[in-house]
């Protein structure tokens, strides 16, 4: 059904494109009803990778970060072949991304971002923004990437590395915090940049929040849905220029209810469920020194801490359920250095660390969860023009574990990624 819908959508796009070509030639002969000038800005981005890795795809899929990402039991229960193929060893098609944007009328702008994978198309973003709010306010509504932190709002092709920092994938999942809701921002009328934003979001994020209630196989426990909007985000961003050195700082908070169900309703496998509330706080700092138009040095660091307070439900393979008061305090950071010494080349290094992983059940700390889990990355990218990029990245990852004899065992992993990213259509913008 979904596929058919998108097939129709693509057909329509092509049809429109054909009409444009037709109406363009028509226009020269002076058609009074030509619409070609109203075509929105369209661009398409293609991202491909080739990956070499120490471990097999099956091993990689069985690894996890204890207490932070889904356990291997749960992952194997959803048995998603496509998930293991994605970014597996060898060639992989990462994504295609189509951006469509235009002015709606004097009052609104519309922006749509469709994400294409081999399986289908997804509405990654689709929102409108106000054009004419007074006093420096702007309203945004629809489905969009939250502006939490420094990186959440950035699309993949803006990243300085192939992958996002560990703490982002742990706290928000692979797709970042991408929610339906509303946002109001205010830019202060000062000589320096200061922006305040608040967001009210549905809060369906499956890594930290979620709104759908759950119950176990034997219906001993039932947790109600939480009421949407479920998640509130606020942030303050500040920037100051010291000649050609720019400082950018930000502080963000995300507060929401948590309803997470990992195979609790499936019989015969280990399941987990969480019911409570989650608070996430983040602080970021960027220092960028512009040597000239082409060359710069940029230092960026971010710290994010997440606390969960509520109840954890555990179901064993015989479908017996138990529960405990649970409190999690987990945090991580990354620091990265990017050098752009030539027009077409960039060199970068990043240090990732999940430093805190404190989990308490009924007021007693469970010490089996490991802390201080690092990853080291470095990358070189070559940009023939603004529209194409080739990157090689090396990761040494010591953050992933497997479980053996009820103990977590670290499994270090080395990977080399060759990535290429190409874009056509409307001119994309440079990012800071």
């Amino acid at each position: 059904m979904k596929k058919t819908f998108y097939m129709v959508l693509v057909m329509l796009c092509l049809q429109t494109a054909e009409n444009i070509v037709y109406s363009n030639s028509e226009n020269q002969s002076g058609s009074p009803f030509s619409q070609s000038q109203f075509v929105p800005d369209i661009s398409f981005i293609l991202d491909l990778a080739y990956i070499e890795r120490d471990i097999t795809d099956t091993t990689r899929q069985s690894l996890f970060i204890p207490g932070m990402t889904y356990s291997s039991e749960y992952l194997s229960s959803i048995d998603d072949d496509t998930a293991s193929e994605q970014n597996g060893r060898g060639f992989s098609f990462n994504y295609g991304e189509m951006n469509i944007a235009s002015v709606v009328d004097p009052y609104f702008d519309l922006f749509v971002n469709l994400s294409f994978t081999e399986e289908g198309v997804e509405f990654e973003e689709g929102y409108f923004t106000s054009r004419s709010f007074p006093f420096g306010f702007q309203l945004k509504a629809g489905k969009f990437l939250s502006s939490f932190g420094r990186l959440n709002e950035q699309h993949g092709h803006f990243w300085d590395f192939f992958d996002q920092p560990l703490i982002y994938s742990v706290v928000f999942g692979e797709g970042n915090l991408n929610e339906t809701g509303m946002r109001l921002t205010w830019v202060a009328p000062f000589d320096f940049y200061m922006m305040l934003g608040v967001e009210a979001l549905q809060g369906r994020n499956s890594a930290s929040f979620g709104i759908k209630g759950f119950s176990d196989v034997q219906h001993n426990v039932t947790v109600d849905d939480s009421r949407g909007p479920n998640l509130y985000v606020a942030y303050l961003k500040y920037s100051y220029d010291f000649d050609t050195l720019t400082l950018l700082m930000g502080g963000s908070g995300a507060l929401g209810k948590t309803r997470l169900n990992m195979a609790l309703d499936q019989s015969g496998i280990q399941g987990e469920g969480y019911n409570g509330s989650t608070h996430i706080w983040g602080g970021d700092i960027t220092l960028k020194y512009l040597i000239d138009s082409f060359r710069y040095i940029s230092l960026q660091a971010e710290y994010i801490i997440k606390t969960f307070d509520g109840r954890q439900y555990t179901q064993d393979t015989a479908d017996n359920i138990s529960s405990a008061e649970c409190e999690k305090v987990q945090s991580g950071m990354y620091a990265q250095l990017v050098l752009k010494p030539f027009l077409q080349w960039r060199f970068a290094a990043r240090y990732d660390l999940l430093n805190k992983n404190r989990i308490e059940y009924n007021g007693t700390r469970d010490t089996e969860y490991p802390e201080n889990m690092p990853r080291y990355s470095c990358m070189i990218d070559y940009n023939p023009t603004e529209f194409s990029r080739f990157r090689i990245q090396y990761n040494h990852d010591r953050s992933h574990y497997y479980k053996e004899n009820n103990e977590y065992v670290n499994k270090p992993n080395n990977e080399i990624i060759v990535q290429c990213n190409l874009s056509i259509g409307a001119h994309g913008a440079h990012s800071f």
């Binding site: 702008d109 709010f133 320096f192 920037s239």
Partner: protein
């Protein structure tokens, strides 16, 4: 408590309205800012975004740009898609509806000029293309008067109380400019008919105006650094057309141009492309004084 609140509100009010009465003009490039300053004088407060010694195409959009757009009453751009890489997202984030394209507080200077080299077909196989034509039109000194007139007209529209001042300043500016034009025309007359090579097509309008023949560029395509094969080609062109000098800008690496100049024993002339590009080019007058001086050396 109440006193503190009142005090802080009034301080905030004072800070934000201290320059009320003066039009806050923001320009993308410093050369525009200088013209605005000469016409607006004490009635305007001018800021600009890009630095004069940087590549006008690749400007890194700093967050402070957003703050500047937020506070502007009038935004003046060069246009011709020169700002396409950095200004659209800044406008989107600055939440200032007054300076959106099409509004009263927005002026695109390229609309007062007829641009050259408008491509008949547009493809990025030709490098970083400008579909509206070559956007470096302001580097022909004869194109400055229409820009000054467009700016004056806009200032009068926004601040009609001072319209007569702006018109007076404009005529002072134009009188001085016209006498300067005569001087520059005279000095560059001797260059008519010679052949030159440019690094990037920055100075086409100037070359065309003074009958200087451009026979090639050191970059193979706009925005693409020279390859060894292209260096070979351009070297042959230099020999064949007995090129007099290579024009270079202040922001591209000089290595390739220097190499060619040395090989053929000709001059490499570094020309400022904007106010602030070199120390001598402090304003719009001295920018052209310096271009003419360096060319006629």
């Amino acid at each position: 408590m109440k006193k503190i609140l009142i005090a802080s509100i009034s301080i905030l009010y004072l800070v934000t309205t201290a320059h009320a009465g003066r039009i806050k003009v923001l320009t993308s490039y410093p050369y525009i800012a200088d013209i605005v300053q000469k016409i607006g004088k004490e009635h305007v407060r001018v800021h600009y975004l890009a630095r004069g010694n940087w590549d006008p195409h690749t400007v890194i959009p700093r967050p402070s740009f957003i703050a500047k757009v937020r506070r502007a009453d009038l935004l003046i751009i060069n246009g011709g898609q020169l700002e396409i890489g950095y200004l659209p997202p800044i406008l989107k984030q600055a939440n200032n509806a007054d300076v959106f394209p099409g509004r009263k507080g927005f002026l695109d200077l390229s609309s007062s000029i007829t641009m050259i080299d408008v491509p008949r077909s547009v493809s990025r196989a030709q490098g970083d293309m400008h579909p509206d034509g070559n956007p470096h039109y302001y580097l022909d000194p004869h194109n400055i008067p229409p820009l000054a007139k467009a700016i004056t007209k806009k200032l009068c529209e926004l601040d009609y109380h001072n319209a007569s001042n702006y018109r007076n300043n404009q005529s002072v500016f134009l009188n001085k400019w016209n006498s300067k034009l005569a001087e520059w025309d005279r000095k560059l007359k001797s260059l008519r008919g010679i052949s030159v090579v440019e690094y990037h097509k920055n100075f086409d309008y100037l070359l065309r105006r003074y009958g200087i023949k451009l026979v090639g560029t050191v970059e193979p395509l706009p925005g693409i650094p020279p390859t060894s094969r292209h260096m070979e080609t351009i070297s042959q062109i230099i020999a064949r057309h007995s090129v007099k000098f290579i024009i270079h800008d202040v922001y591209h690496p000089e290595r390739a141009s220097k190499l060619l100049a040395k090989k053929h024993n000709i001059r490499m002339v570094v020309l400022p492309h904007d106010v602030g590009a070199t120390n001598e080019a402090e304003g719009i007058f001295s920018l052209f004084d310096e271009i003419v001086r360096r060319l006629s050396q």
